[in-house]
Amino acid sequence: MEESAITLLEFNRRVNRLLHDVSVQRCWVVAETSDVMLRNHCYMELVQKNPVTGLTEAKARAIIWASRFAVLRNMFEAATGQAFGNGLKVMVEVSANFHEQFGYSLVITDINPTYTIGDMARQRMEIISRLRREGLIGLNKELDMPAVPQRIAVVSAGTAAGYGDFMDQLHGNASGLKFYTCLFPAVMQGVNTPASIISALNRIYENAELFDCVVIIRGGGATSELNAFDNYDLAANVAQFPLPVIVGIGHDRDTTVLDEVANVRVKTPTAAAEWLVGRAQSALDTLNAVSDMIADMASEIIASARQQLAYYTGTIPLVAENIVTRNKAMLQNYVSAIPLRAHLRIETAGKDLGAWKERVAVAASQCVAREKMRLQALDKQVELLSPERVLRRGYSLTVANGHVVTDAAELAKGDILETRFASGRVVSEVK
């Protein structure tokens, strides 16, 4: 028993030899990266987690030799737009290895980036559909960008080349358009990116009334670490931000989730500055156009007023002349009409006069006849009442002392009476 014992080294060598079986050599494996560490060679842990519980179900150390890693990293990052790092779903070609001293590990010889791309796209789609489900995806897009966004809150790493490009482009614009920027520094790469940007947004939110819009820029360097921008929390924050957000995070990949929710999406920080300058420039162009337009309209109105004036200048004397002529003609009419009228009037008056004459004559003769008749009636009455007529009927008239006697008492003895008859008279004495 004891003679058959072997050294640990010998045992480990046997294990190593067993691991050279084809079934565990150059085998494609899917796993998630963690604890990625670059120390000449690239060391990491490959893990498999339970999709429901998130608990680790399998784990193995892995290594990519430095020479191989240089090639694989370039290829991977170019294809995925994503830096090789932790938390990536990868498909890797591995060979089991057992080192006498360091134990079990896997040697990675190849990576299939398509798998990672697919996984990232799936994650992105999941985030996007969640944002859509929650009604957040269009919120920032629906905000009205001011006609001239001049006051700009910039979220960027202050030292980044992209920030410098943005500032140069914006403040150095050819038209001398003024912009006001305020930098809210944030980490723009690595796992802390979302939280760092969210904290910058919170600081902007406290001073939101000072700004027209927010610009999130990241530029220069490799097109990697875009994974940070496919983040639900960050996207939800940007979507619900009360100011329109312009995103220029410098990449050629289709879109990140951040691009999906931003009000304006451009490729680079320089493009973000160009966009802002362009908007202000078009406002300035509009102002100049309006200015020209007002001048044109004013001179047009003046020209038409002048034209109207010219019309009146030409027309008024003519109109005046017409009026004079018309009045003259009217006067002439009167001149010729008056004698005729007068004649007519006299004629009429003459006729009237004749009629009146006749009526007066008739009236006069009627009056004369009427009076004649009245006289005749009176004459008759007078005749009836005359004393001769009374005397003829047998009455007599006694006169004493020159008076007609109507009362015997008036007489005294010896008075001389004259009694008149219709014919003749006698004188007697009272006894």
């Binding site: 038209s175 003024k178 006001y180 102002l287 200015s291 007002i294 309209m297």
Partner: protein
């Protein structure tokens, strides 16, 4: 059309008034009596707008500089 205090006017308020003046001037019943009123007001508004685009608001610049530091 009401004329606001030009000092406190925002760019969009000035633009809105400018647009209404242009509309007024384009209408048939723009009399020559209003012309100088309209043109002088619109020049004033244009000046405000251009100033907003082209002149530095030192006060705002200072506030933002303080915020940034």
């Amino acid at each position: 059309m009401e004329s606001q205090d030009t000092e406190k006017m925002t760019y969009s308020q000035a633009i809105a008034e400018l647009e209404s003046i242009v509309k007024e001037m384009q209408s048939e019943n723009c009399s020559i009596d209003n012309l100088s009123k309209y043109t002088s007001r619109s020049l004033e508004l244009l000046k405000i707008c251009k100033a907003k685009l082209l002149t530095t608001d030192e006060e705002l610049k200072k506030i933002l500089a303080e915020l940034e530091s």
